[in-house]
Symmetry: C2
């Protein structure tokens, strides 16, 4: 029992450390947002700057409020989307406005053309936003495109020749807001989405290892004690199961982030999604086996002592392998223990064959062998 307890103490202190780190990062983010807002407000507050930009400084402030996200990657991605959307929307808007002015038969014709173009572009852009591939990465950009297009084309009816000038000034201000955001986000205590993704995957390895060692070993304990433990473990399993959308958005952000720390250019972020998928399957498995243990208590009692011991051994072996994998991922070294792990898995499997017809653990380990195999495969990057 001693190693289990030491593990659970270690994992407790790990959880606390993670929470503290989380708090610190949130604080840093809040202060960074405050700083960027003050910087961009200087456009209004300082006389020489205000004379240059005028009322359009509003757009720079808006850009900062809307664009500043928690991680550097998210900020960059949103900024890129906003820039691109503004440029394309502004360009098309100007074209449409000029077209309406040159062709329109008087004021009414002009208005009709503008109205039609608003309807067509509005519907089309909305359709684009519903396509899954666009929605995933460029949703915000398309929205900004639509916004800019409408504002420009509609004010073109009133402002006559100033449209181009207006578009240019707004773009300039958005660029200023963008620069402030990016500088503060990248150079003042940067918070990387890639780090967060990396750590969350590594900690999932450890969590699952703890559950395998802890929960599934509870079959010999008293029922009441077991309940609480199981509940907590199920919650961890479920949080692993529900991690997909978070992973996907983090990978999305991580792709925007420039070279930093241990992550190079064209780092294979897609692999993280695959590893996450395998871990989710493993969690589904543990959840299922856990539920079985919870419902049916008798079959376990019918196991002989020697079988229980074998199960125990296999269990801790598997947990150990998981920890090893997590550790090697954390340090980003090639999982050089691959051969050893495969050998261990093979021996675990043989042990299992000995007790195959009686124990339920069979399935657990069988599928873990599968999961491990695919994981090892993924890790040979």
């Amino acid at each position: 029992l001693a190693p289990i307890i030491s593990h659970s103490i270690a994992s407790n202190s790990r959880v606390k450390k993670v929470q503290r780190d989380d708090e610190t990062r949130k604080m840093i983010h809040c202060i960074k947002v405050g700083i960027s807002l003050v910087l961009v407000s200087l456009l209004y507050l300082l006389n020489p700057l205000f004379e240059q930009v005028g009322e359009n400084a509003m757009w720079a402030i808006m850009t900062v409020v809307v664009m500043f996200e928690f991680s550097a990657g998210a900020t960059l991605g949103k900024g890129f989307n906003r820039g691109l959307g503004t440029i394309i929307g502004g360009g098309l808007g100007c074209l449409a406005a000029v077209f309406a002015q040159s062709i329109g038969i008087g004021k009414v014709g002009n208005s009709i053309i503008v109205g039609a173009s608003v309807f067509i572009f509005g519907s089309f852009a909305t359709y684009l936003r519903l396509l899954p591939r666009i929605k995933k990465r460029y949703d915000y950009g398309v929205m900004i495109f639509l916004l800019t297009f409408n504002l420009i084309v509609v004010s073109g009816v009133r402002a006559n020749v100033e449209v181009l000038d207006l578009a240019r000034q707004r773009l300039l201000n958005i660029v200023m807001g963008f620069i402030v955001c990016v500088c503060v986000s990248l150079f003042v205590f940067p918070l990387w989405a890639s780090d967060e993704l990396h750590h969350s995957i590594v900690s999932r390895f450890h969590d699952l290892a703890n559950i395998i060692q802890g929960c599934l070993g509870e079959c010999t304990k008293i029922v009441s004690e077991k309940e609480n433990q199981l509940c907590a473990n199920f919650n961890v399993c479920k949080s692993v199961l529900n991690s997909k959308s978070k992973d996907e958005s983090l990978v999305n952000f991580a792709k925007w982030e420039p070279w930093h720390g241990k992550f190079g250019y064209s780092y294979p972020w897609g692999r993280y999604l695959k590893i996450g998928e395998v871990l989710r399957e493993l969690a589904a498995f543990i959840l299922a086996v856990g539920r079985c243990l919870e419902t049916s208590k008798e079959p376990m009692a019918s196991l002989r002592e020697s079988q229980l011991e074998t199960c125990e051994a296999i269990k801790s072996k598997v947990a150990c392998i998981l920890r090893e994998l997590g550790e090697s991922m954390k340090q980003m070294r090639k999982c050089d223990a691959k051969a050893i792990i495969l050998a261990q898995l093979k021996s675990a499997r043989e042990d299992l064959n000995l007790i195959i017809s009686t124990s339920k653990k069979v399935e657990l380990e069988d599928s873990q062998v599968l999961a491990m195999a695919s994981m090892v495969f993924l890790l040979k990057e």
Copy 2:
């Protein structure tokens, strides 16, 4: 085999119908966005209206672009957030601006106070946005609060007394945009998030029933044929597993929607989350058992004919129960078959006890009994 085939044909045509409906709804949404944009552009295009609102009509257009979401609930929620954020942000912004003007020792002191308030409110609002409870429902509102506050307080430095007037006009325009959005969203072919949620949960019952009947019955089939089938089934399982965040946002939107169709006020949307949770666990279970079937082919062969038959019977019984539950949910009648279902589950369990020590199905059904029990419990609304 006949019922299985007929079921799979039925489910195929169901899938096609769902896809067609989806396309139609997307089209409707796109056209609705186009209509609202044209309506709100009239503020600019028609002379009498433009004389009333002036350049501030820009804010109405922005509101429509940003606020119009796919479902009525999402639109209402966003609009509410935007309205509340604007009012609170505008109010506090005016206060801060007036405070800075009355206290500030000349221009410099004024600017310093404004800068400090921008920093403090910026950091504080950002902190609020990171809290999970706020993030879930009021993220957008807090962002709009911050935006409005900054714009108002900063332009207060320049515009002297006009701040209040500026705030009032912008608010008026946002309200106009809001009214256009809400009218088009609610009265022109409304798309309800509650309907979508309801249908997605019902169809998940049927999907899981099909998988249980289809995939887990494949154990007697040829291996190559089995592979494809299993793959497809795993994908369905995984999509059920990954449905949590979608469910949560739909429930969130559904809460905003007014009384309509069969859903009354204070409809228990939280129950949908619980049912979704149970279905996810069932999917995790099916996934786990499916993987086991995939890896270990021999144990199945060792089952005697009679046992296979029992398994088959239990399987179709469980699938039948699932369909029954889905159907009763679709028609929103109290699951009056509750007693019958419980009896069926009991008999299934007894059948299982007969073959308990040899078959793997044991676990599957055991946990399903559990899942069913909790589901029935949930359905007695």
